[in-house]
Symmetry: D2
């Protein structure tokens, strides 16, 4: 069905990324409606005032990243708050819904089990593609918070998952001196096979820590009081891990070490690329499901 | 035990790689004996003439890549053929043996079930590290068989596994124009997140195939008669996939398309690095097993 | 004399860069005094309140980049304005002075011919080193003003001088699609030898101009009304050329094309690196002059 | 005249490069004749048996790199030796001739002053473009003569001219650890601005010299007995400088240090690219001279 009859898509809220997702879906021939963009600076063809109409006239519904904020639909450009549980959930009954954080939504709103939920945020292709805008965003934050060039800086990338595997070689290609920490032997292998210096994440406490910039990607406490107190005061820490992150920010502040929790970089820095990534992922899912 | 009492290691045969493995093990403080290197151009301290003595006086035994060749121990520098089944297998009873291709050995020599076999060839860290010497070797073969620079050449890397993921960015960093084919959406995502052009491996037949160099890493038939006949006669194909490879070499020859099956590149091109990789892997295994 | 008796250095004003220059000179064993830093957030050992004393007690005087602003000494952290002609010039009589823009100073203050002026700003090693912080700064400005990643963006670097030769390969290493324009055949050669696409600067008017980001480095009008009107409205132009730059900013604004004149990037973005570059250059000059 | 009436070109001898030059000239619409390719494995349309006819019927004559070998025309694929002075020089009287090594030819054959000689070998754009095939060739030689990967190797590039400026960053992009030696402060600046380690060529004797591969590009004796005897026996030296090179090969042999004088790499490794470079240079010259 995908190639012939593209399903109509209804987008509910979100930030600039979802505007781009809508644009790219239109370009690929999808029929799109997007609600809750009343305050968006431009008026786009596929904007629709009526949420209900948007849902009813669309075969699949697309929810933003994240879908909810404090109980309301996440809609940066919406005129007023929209209670997700009361106003959105009932509309979604029996609908096909593409969303991130499916499990969290189901826990909060068990009635959503009456919808056909597909989680695009969990997809490997979504996460892999987002690694590049995240890495570029991390670079931007680093550049804006150091007084040296990245070139010749001594950097540590803590963690060798998707983001680490994109960020570390990027720093190296900018001629930084790059160390990467990992736990798994195959990641240590990957680091060395790519000409970088490896450290064991669980052995950081016995390593020399004279880095100028530390990028953390590990989503649990790594830079605790013990480790932070061994750092030079001028070290810049950029934590890319989702809340609560891997840095004890209270302690770093006490110690006078600048630590920045840099979240949602793709949406903030590259909404165009990030919106295209959502589009690509949803299209991949439709293709695989032969929807 | 690892840090205090390093086990003594007996190496049986192999090529130059194993000589380097022996050297690096000695450097790390292991006691090493290596048999079947009688014809090696240098005489090294840890060489031992007597196979039996090597096995008996070593706590762990290290077999080469591959361990056997036509029923004999693979020993490039041995004076005479050593029947693996008759001469080696009985010696290994009750011994701890590090080898590649464990399953194949057990099928051929069921008595080996009386040994404690550990497969280092299957290890992810071994394979990941070998990707770099393989990729550099592929580059060398390409350079020696084209009349253009790699810079500005249009290259296809077919397959996006460990080797593809190291080779493709390397070609890109040499300023080639790089396409990578893959099957999985996350690999397509990885390719694009890294600024390269993606193709779907199962869609190659409908793609334009005007590549100057094609590197295949897919270990089953991809470049069959149909695909080969769509290539320009001047295309160079380098097949990096293990036997039987992914190219119909008979057809490519008929068509006058140069296709090279480039095997065992780490051992041929970078025995030092490749020998160090074997050492690293075995040390990782000892550490994990707390041997 | 250089290695044994390092001359004492007096720094007069400037921005954060000169603070770093002072620090690095101290680290190399020079005796340093720096005046006009009263409002600097830290109190550093080598700060000196008295300008006169700073000059009198220093063997060589170091002026900042630029040395003057609207007739006053350029001193960002000075408590009050210091008239360069009245207060500084007389003090410099017979002194050895390292400064940028020597010719301009001599034109404005002919009495300076009684000083021994050395121009560090004109030095090739100064300019070459500054290209990296300039290029990184340009990248930062680009990242902050586009909604796509640099990766996969189509970029034009206009001009192939020192900055172009550092910026263009950096963009390429970030996986942008890079075009560089130049006039000289050897620069066209350099561009192609480095795997990038070349355009002739004087032929831009007949080229397709579908770039997402244009970096101009040519210090005279290139992007005039004719050229600007052929650009897509979404093109981002970053002009790195010194005043008046190479872009008709009035026309670009009328056309709704975002054009940014990004000046003094090393000082703004990387004062530490930029200060070290001043130090390195001055030390090179002392060594060459055997002062 | 260039765009409308392309001059007819007569190629006299040379190696495979000149065959490619001929092909590319044909592709651009030039009328081409090429003599002395009787033994070339293919028969190409523009091959011409008769040297005299080739010269007489061509408006410009193209001589190969180098034009002569031991008094004869350099013609790798010619059936018999052609005495340059007796058979070629008289034919060239009054002709427009594009050649490398113009000065050397004029010294050897003063009668050539009756020809209009243009030196393409001296051109900056020729030299700059040839740096890439030279650098790739150097890489190939290095790969074939070391037992380690280039990745992680410690390399010295001696000299920071055109070849050094292409080779050093290429090694760095292959994740080697790269040092570059230079004399001029601006080259030291370039090296550091590009994230590499700099050494002063005239200070090599006091540097630590624990390099795994040394690439020399300096065309006079650098690696003399004193320097060579300080190297590890396993160092590989690749001398890219034209005869007599910068290495005392006799001493290196005595010391058991492998030193390779790798000459004419573009022609040997990348005749296609190298032939295109000759074509591009000649076309640039015609365009500039408005011939």
């Amino acid at each position: 069905m995908y190639t012939e009859n593209k399903p109509s898509v209804g987008i509910l809220g979100g930030d600039k990324r979802l505007v781009y997702t809508g644009k790219y879906l239109c370009e690929e021939g999808f029929s799109v409606k997007a609600a809750c963009f009343d305050k968006y600076p431009e008026k786009l063809d596929f904007f629709e005032e009526d949420i209900k109409k948007t849902v009813q006239e669309s075969e699949i519904i697309l929810l933003p990243v994240p879908p909810i904020k404090e109980g309301n639909l996440n809609c940066v450009y919406g005129e007023k708050a929209v209670d997700f549980g009361k106003e959105i959930v009932p509309l979604l009954k029996d609908k096909t819904v593409f969303t991130p954080m499916k499990e969290k939504l189901l826990t909060l709103y068990p009635q959503l089990s009456a919808s056909k939920l597909y989680d695009y945020g969990e997809r490997e292709d979504f996460a892999v593609r987002n690694a590049m805008p995240t890495a570029e965003g991390a670079l931007y934050v680093a550049m804006g918070n150091t007084e040296k060039t990245i070139c010749s800086s001594k950097c540590l990338v803590c963690g060798c998952g998707r983001i680490g595997k994109v960020l570390a070689p990027m720093l190296k290609r900018l001629w930084a001196s790059v160390w990467v920490s990992a736990r798994k032997p195959e990641d240590i292998g990957w680091i060395e096979a790519n000409g970088m210096n490896s450290l064991r994440t669980d052995g950081l406490e016995i390593c020399q820590l004279d880095f100028e910039i530390i990028f953390n990607t590990v989503p649990h406490m790594v830079f605790d009081k013990k480790l932070l107190s061994r750092l030079d005061k001028k070290t810049l820490i950029i934590d890319l891990a989702s809340v609560p992150g891997g840095v004890d920010f209270k302690v770093s502040e006490e110690l006078g070490i600048k630590a920045i929790h840099a979240l949602s970089l793709p949406g903030k820095m590259s909404p165009d690329t990030a919106g295209k990534i959502i589009k690509d992922t949803v299209v991949n899912m439709l293709r695989e499901a032969e929807m």
